[in-house]
Symmetry: C2
Subunit: 478 residues, 2 copies
Amino acid sequence: MGLGRVKSLPFEVIEGEEGSMSSRLVVVGGGAAGMSAASAARRVDPALDIVVLEAGGYAAYGLCGLPYYLAGLVESADDLLAYPPSFFREQRRIDLRLNARVTQLDPQRQTICYAQDGRERRLGYHRLIVTAGGVPVRPPIPGLDDERVFTVRTLEDAISLRSLLDAGRIGQVLVVGAGYVGLEMAEALTARGSAVTVVEALAQAMPNLDAPVAALVEAEVRRRGVDLRLGTRLEKLARAGDRLVARIGGQQLSVDAVVLATGVRPASSVAAAAGAATDQAGALLVDESMRTSLPDVFAAGDCVATHHRVLGRPAFVPLGPAANKTGRVAGTVAAGGAASFTGIVGTAVVKVFDLAVARTGLTLTETLAEGLRAVATDATGKSRAKYYPGTSPVHVRLVHTPGGRLLGAQLVGAGDGVAKRIDPIAIALQAGFDVGDLVAADLSYAPPYAPVYDPVLLAAQAANAANAIASQPNSLAV
Amino acid sequence: MGLGRVKSLPFEVIEGEEGSMSSRLVVVGGGAAGMSAASAARRVDPALDIVVLEAGGYAAYGLCGLPYYLAGLVESADDLLAYPPSFFREQRRIDLRLNARVTQLDPQRQTICYAQDGRERRLGYHRLIVTAGGVPVRPPIPGLDDERVFTVRTLEDAISLRSLLDAGRIGQVLVVGAGYVGLEMAEALTARGSAVTVVEALAQAMPNLDAPVAALVEAEVRRRGVDLRLGTRLEKLARAGDRLVARIGGQQLSVDAVVLATGVRPASSVAAAAGAATDQAGALLVDESMRTSLPDVFAAGDCVATHHRVLGRPAFVPLGPAANKTGRVAGTVAAGGAASFTGIVGTAVVKVFDLAVARTGLTLTETLAEGLRAVATDATGKSRAKYYPGTSPVHVRLVHTPGGRLLGAQLVGAGDGVAKRIDPIAIALQAGFDVGDLVAADLSYAPPYAPVYDPVLLAAQAANAANAIASQPNSLAV
């Protein structure tokens, strides 16, 4: 029994909870983090009473799959589910309650309130895990409250949008925001034959890249026919019959639908209202065991700030791998096991048309915002031996201190072999490498997969040579 | 002037060397290591007299490209050259002498003898770099001395073999050896429509992999129609008109050509005869600056033993990246600059039909041969999100101490995205990671490129769980 002695629940027992003698773990949210947490808890404690409250009608799917479902690369919405609800209910004996929206948390009485089928319900817990995910940021723009305005943040959103696409009713579409979700959506909608305009208030796409690297992505997006308007805001949206008229930078644009991809904020309001500590972004603060500041309340997934190894402090970086891992840790510990999540380095990759666009650590922009002294070194190499068919350029930017300490990397190139080239740099950041250590790396080589000096090595050599010239003439470490 | 004071050369000056007042660097071998060395030396010292003696008729090409030239993926032999001879001669002012086979080294007199155009010549040096490469191992089998028996170790070999292929004269071929070169050749010859038999004396293909991992490769090779005979020796070869009759395991096989891919040994004989220290494999021993035991004699490339970080001692691992890097270090230091080669971890990758086959560090077999206590943990994951088109299995084996210290990895899977997955493990070995550190790695995720738990992470989790169960019940580090 993971939780030790079973306390009697200090509140009236409601609707079918009578007589339960086992410990109860309640998980708020049935996404990747929540179902990872519930499953991990089940592995630790076969007798635990595990309830998952999911606000939507689907559980255990990754949001990252939605663009590919919309593009038609994934045929059915069910294909996106890790497992169907019956698997969790029957095989893992998890009481998965769908369309159950949590409204209130009382950490003193150890109860949680939720709305389901139009009724308010209350449930006691011994341990609680909040995995409520993220909430789309909705800019204060008139007219956004329209059924043809989509935030692709739930499977329901995606199903609605896809039904319109399948019916051929989205000839023209406006995407608001040119971050990675906005560009994934631009690609998906282009693949469906829609004419896509993307507006981005900032002067560059992909604000999590440095501008010179983002420029490579912008060129690809435009090359593929997307009307990308940077430094431009959506000012107003209005219905016009079956269409929407958007005012963008003073111009009018008539579209069939609008996709909002203006970022997410942590869905921490219920926990925060109950007193859970958050960071400036509103993300729940947790320790390595994913404990919040509230007793017996854990949190995981997109609603928490995770330890960023390069920053040396918590950061809100809502991505899939950490959601799964933090969920697993929270579930393991909440059920009485031992686990820890030691942090991220900020690795992310996205496919934008033919390009893999990857980053890890910090961008130069981010280092400057942190007040760190840093420089960037850029190199362009090839994805394969120069003579092997299908070779294409790979651009690598390394961010490092003037003394050579590695702080981050960005990488852009075409083809399946490019994306995973960010991973050795992620490990190097975890290990605290200097660029000189990276120069000495024994990376794989074969003509179909890499040139003899991988682009990552070329960038490290360039960064190291700059440092070496500064410190020691004629020095060339290999 | 990198070499400091110019000594007068202590021997009679020969054929056009008269009156040279500059320091002279002689490089033996014009392959990847040799041309890297000469080019690096030129960068350090613009005034250095640099002579490269290449035994063959081509310089500055990688051997790794030969299978793709034979397969017809690379049209012309010239495409394999990093640069043409004129580039080195004119742009880099390197005196590149082709068809110049070195026969003798006199380290006391600082002279080297070589044969060219049927004449014996002698050349003095201030510094010498030996990059003589590898020599194909020729098993003592009767009949191998036939023009239809090829060792694909030079561009000349490959050009001869390709002319026969282009003429449609190789309907059936025997490859001797199922190491990575043998299997690359099997793929190339299959692509040209030849019926290929591969014989391997050992009980498994790819002896640099553990048998269970090699079995995945064997299955792929057979699936693609290659007649792979393991535990079988070529016993004898005999001419029969225009064909060769091979006796294999007591059977007769009639073929149009034989390709020997039975490994290489270091081409260290001239240097060793002059007293240079070698390891048991005959590879030249060098320090971090690539100095041999002989004064003013450096060595680099496939003829040296390099420091193996995991073994903690020199090892003979003749591969392209180290050849290029050690060449560059040798040239830099020989010309008076500072550089060091700090070692390898044993990373290699090869394409075998649809599979990328990669390794780094040590195999379990190799750890046992070293007397190390080690175990292997296997996991099979997916190359992409399960719902994304083109997902395929990726098998990862981690080799680690019973306490969790990472010692090596092997990886097999289909597609361009698989090969580079060995690189994060190579960095982890360089950094001295435990499997627990690897579990905590922040590796990239996006549905087109990886599942949320990359196969590398799955293997690390499995290895770590085995360790954790042994040491601490209910523990699960993430």
